[in-house]
Symmetry: C2
Subunit: 216 residues, 2 copies
């Protein structure tokens, strides 16, 4: 999912790029160990001969290198700070709760994780109202930093909903995000990079088993 952030950012800026896939939880050629020795994680953007790691940092890097093309972060420093704040919230607080819906043991723990994830979305719905100022996206008329930060998980949310038989982005609880999700997925920079739901479903099942295994 984090790779999508870099891909969408490159699309917004119309930057030609090549994609090299690495197998999940495997790094047989040691490529990731060389490129991202601290975390050994994807995505890594290789620009020239220099690797840039961590998806939110990559998106900011792309925005700054191709600064004359459509902006990804807002122009106003306060709006930028808010976009950064919620993006970090998504990674540090919200994603762990979504992950826990699949990985928690027992019905009670799963229910608590679902409740956390929905409460997070309610906070993000409020952030959307402030940030979008009546327009379609967090970024206004066009998708921006926070749209990318949250939007890359939309397919993952759908898959989580299917596997766990739950409802995450609910039209009654978060109506603005419900509408935003449709607009985001239809965007030109997004629609061709979204993963196929059935492939992702397969991956999610594998992921849940692998991760549970590694935690035991």
């Amino acid at each position: 999912m984090f790779v999508l952030r870099a891909r969408i950012a490159l699309n917004i800026k119309s930057v030609e790029h090549e994609i090299t896939e690495e197998k999940f939880l495997a790094d047989k050629n040691g490529l990731l160990r060389n490129l991202n020795p601290v975390y050994e994680k994807i995505p890594v953007l290789i620009h020239g001969d220099r690797p840039i790691c961590e998806s939110l940092i990559i998106v900011q890097y792309i925005d700054e290198v191709w600064a004359s093309r459509p902006a990804i972060l807002p122009c106003d420093p306060y709006d930028r700070a808010m976009a950064r704040f919620w993006a970090v919230y998504i990674d540090d607080k919200w994603i762990p709760s979504v992950r826990a819906i699949l990985l928690s043991e027992g019905e009670e723990a799963k229910k608590a994780a679902l409740e956390d994830a929905i409460q997070g979305l309610i906070l993000l719905e409020e952030a959307f109202t402030k940030s979008s100022k009546g327009k379609k996206f967090f970024g206004g008329d066009k998708i921006g930093y926070l749209d990318i930060a949250l939007g890359c998980f939309l397919e993952w949310m759908r898959v989580t909903q299917k596997i766990a038989n739950v409802n995450l982005i609910d039209e009654s609880k978060t109506p603005n995000l419900f509408k935003w999700a449709q607009d985001f997925c239809a965007d030109d920079a997004v629609k061709d990079v979204l993963p196929q739901t059935d492939k992702l479903l397969e991956f999610a099942k594998f992921y849940a088993v692998e991760l549970k295994g590694s935690m035991e």
Copy 2:
């Protein structure tokens, strides 16, 4: 410690400001609950009537609002990405290991935490060599984003060293950081905001007891 980041950034930019202290682990007036409802943590920068939360986001905000004054982040997008990468590494990986030196139960766990913290400093020593390009600071001739991100913990490291009877920034293992620490603490934007070691020592002992208590 995180508050120091905001204070040093305001000093670099010569921004007049007032400081309101909030008691640790208490928020009797509900001030933090109002200003930073998501985390209820300090620092919060109030600029005009708008709160900005999270120390690294505050530092970037200050850099962008007072953009014509001395720069805090590097100018080059790649250098900016590297500074952001290591700042996040400090918060997400390195600080938890330093904290664990004080909070871990048992000698073996403390030793492992110390080893992690020192390995982290060795990585940061390498980052320093690349980033400083032979100059005094991560930021070159003047202190910048990564100097602030790490430097705010120097007094805390000293206190940890005293309490746990360990050595963190060691001249033999990380000679460049050893020298950097002296230059950082002597800097005009820094020297008057550093906490007094004896006060911090008192706080650290309280902190260790409180945090251990809250984890039990």
